[in-house]
Symmetry: C2
DNA sequence: GAGTGGTCTAGACCACCAC
DNA sequence: TGGTGGTCTAGACCACTCA
């Protein structure tokens, strides 16, 4: 309880330690910096600072929350580690965005065997509204039959199809998404999502399998039925661990591989 | 340069900042805690503290290195983040090991679709000494033709083969490794490596592909030729980013998937 | 109760960036 | 030159573990 008693401002967090003056049997102990982290996350979620913008300096935040700079620092450190914030020495701390080149394909682990290969091209095949199947609804936390937007697209390298993606998005969050809007947009899809719909992908879980190409997938990927494909099912989450995108990808791995780092 | 001049003990690190008293045009600046981190890593590498043992307390390390506890703390924090050390509040800081249940299969991302599935069983098929092929030599940083140990094994669930692994190890580091020694060993293979051969796997890189089962692999995995398999090529590193294991795995993914978390 | 890691503070100085 | 994040310190107190 390092806060000077009587100085509790509106935004000052309350440590509520188990040995607090109230003597309440607090079931859990939450360090100050964790509470600061929570407050910062709420501000990010609420849009107080938008992707790409700078958040207040550590000194300002320390004053706002009535804690020392070191405490704010630890909170910001963890948010930066979680890729929610980006620190730039001498300039400030910024809200992370999917726009930066370094994070261009943060979630796409597929790389060409040939390191000097060309960049991937995008080709939208389809974008339609439909009702969520039981499976899609379950993954996205919707009710079966709710509106869903499905996007089908290819990624190509040197005009050769490499990835076929089926993307499912909750209809309520992505009203007005259309082929035209996506086609005219330069840059990563996740950047469009955060800029146009205010939906920011924070983390994702993937499940990988080896499968045989079905007839349609083989045709779209310009390969033969039965060819082994890498199936990548991705569930992406925004703040609060809320799932907001289901993506089923089929990757051709004759000249590409899925790269993963283990620590 | 916070060290009091004239107090340079044998183990005291030298910050050597660009604006040091010598005025040397130091090309790079290395914070104190980074240097401490390096010293700690060297001690780990040299075996001063063995896997599972406790390292000296933060206060002791601070005294040894003539820095404050906070500086040691930051160094230890990063090593703990990198899974080299494990902190246990109230007890001490320990050298990480592959023995703990929580890290039992730290590097194996394959999980059963059915969450209530049985544990994986291990079956060693083969262990032989041979000369490194050009490809294996290149991956492990050896000369072509150098001695290599190859281990082939299966992982089974409910008597059904799920994983076929071919493991390649530098012969000089793993003298005396035999089927008997591995078969009689309870616990993870990486635990045996660190306990019996002093080789600790720190991190790894994997390349995943979808491939069709060849005749031999199909037979060993009790499946049909042509079935899609997940090919996982793993290169594991010890300290100094030195590669010490090449592993080629073939995973059946009818009832299992490779799980990955994206941040 | 002694010892460990965990949190928090206040203040100093450094490296980097922009104006 | 001033502001930002980055490093380092010294000291206080807390939470946890174990004898």
């Amino acid at each position: 309880m390092p806060l000077p008693s009587g100085s509790s401002a509106a935004e000052a967090p309350d440590a509520a330690g188990p040995s607090g003056p109230s003597g309440a049997p607090g079931p859990s102990f939450s360090p100050l910096y964790q509470q600061i982290k929570g407050l910062l996350t709420r501000s990010l979620q609420g849009g107080e600072w938008k992707p790409g913008e700078a958040i207040p300096s550590e000194m300002e935040l320390a004053a706002r929350f009535r804690v020392s700079q070191g405490t704010v620092r630890k909170a910001v450190d963890e948010l930066a580690t979680g890729n929610l914030l980006v620190r730039r020495q001498g300039k400030g701390t910024y809200v992370a965005t999917h726009a930066e080149a370094s994070t261009q394909y943060r979630f796409l682990h597929l790389v060409a065997d040939d390191p000097g290969a060309a960049r991937l091209q995008r080709r939208l095949l389809d974008c339609r509204r439909l009702r969520a199947s039981a499976e899609v609804a379950r993954a996205l936390g919707l009710r079966s039959g709710e509106a869903v937007i499905q996007v089908r697209r290819l990624l190509l390298q040197d005009a050769q199809p490499v990835v076929l993606d089926d993307i499912y998005l909750p209809g309520t969050l992505f009203k007005g998404l259309s082929v035209e809007r996506m086609d005219s947009y330069k840059g990563p899809m996740y950047r469009l999502f955060e800029a146009e719909f205010g939906v920011r992908m924070i983390r994702a879980e993937e499940r990988l399998r080896a499968v045989a190409a079905e007839a349609l997938a083989a045709q779209l990927l310009a390969t033969a039925p039965g060819v082994p494909l890498l199936s990548v099912e991705r569930l992406s989450f925004t703040y609060d661990d809320k799932p907001v995108e289901l993506r089923r990808g089929l990757y051709r791995t004759e000249h590409h591989h899925y790269r993963n780092e283990l620590n």
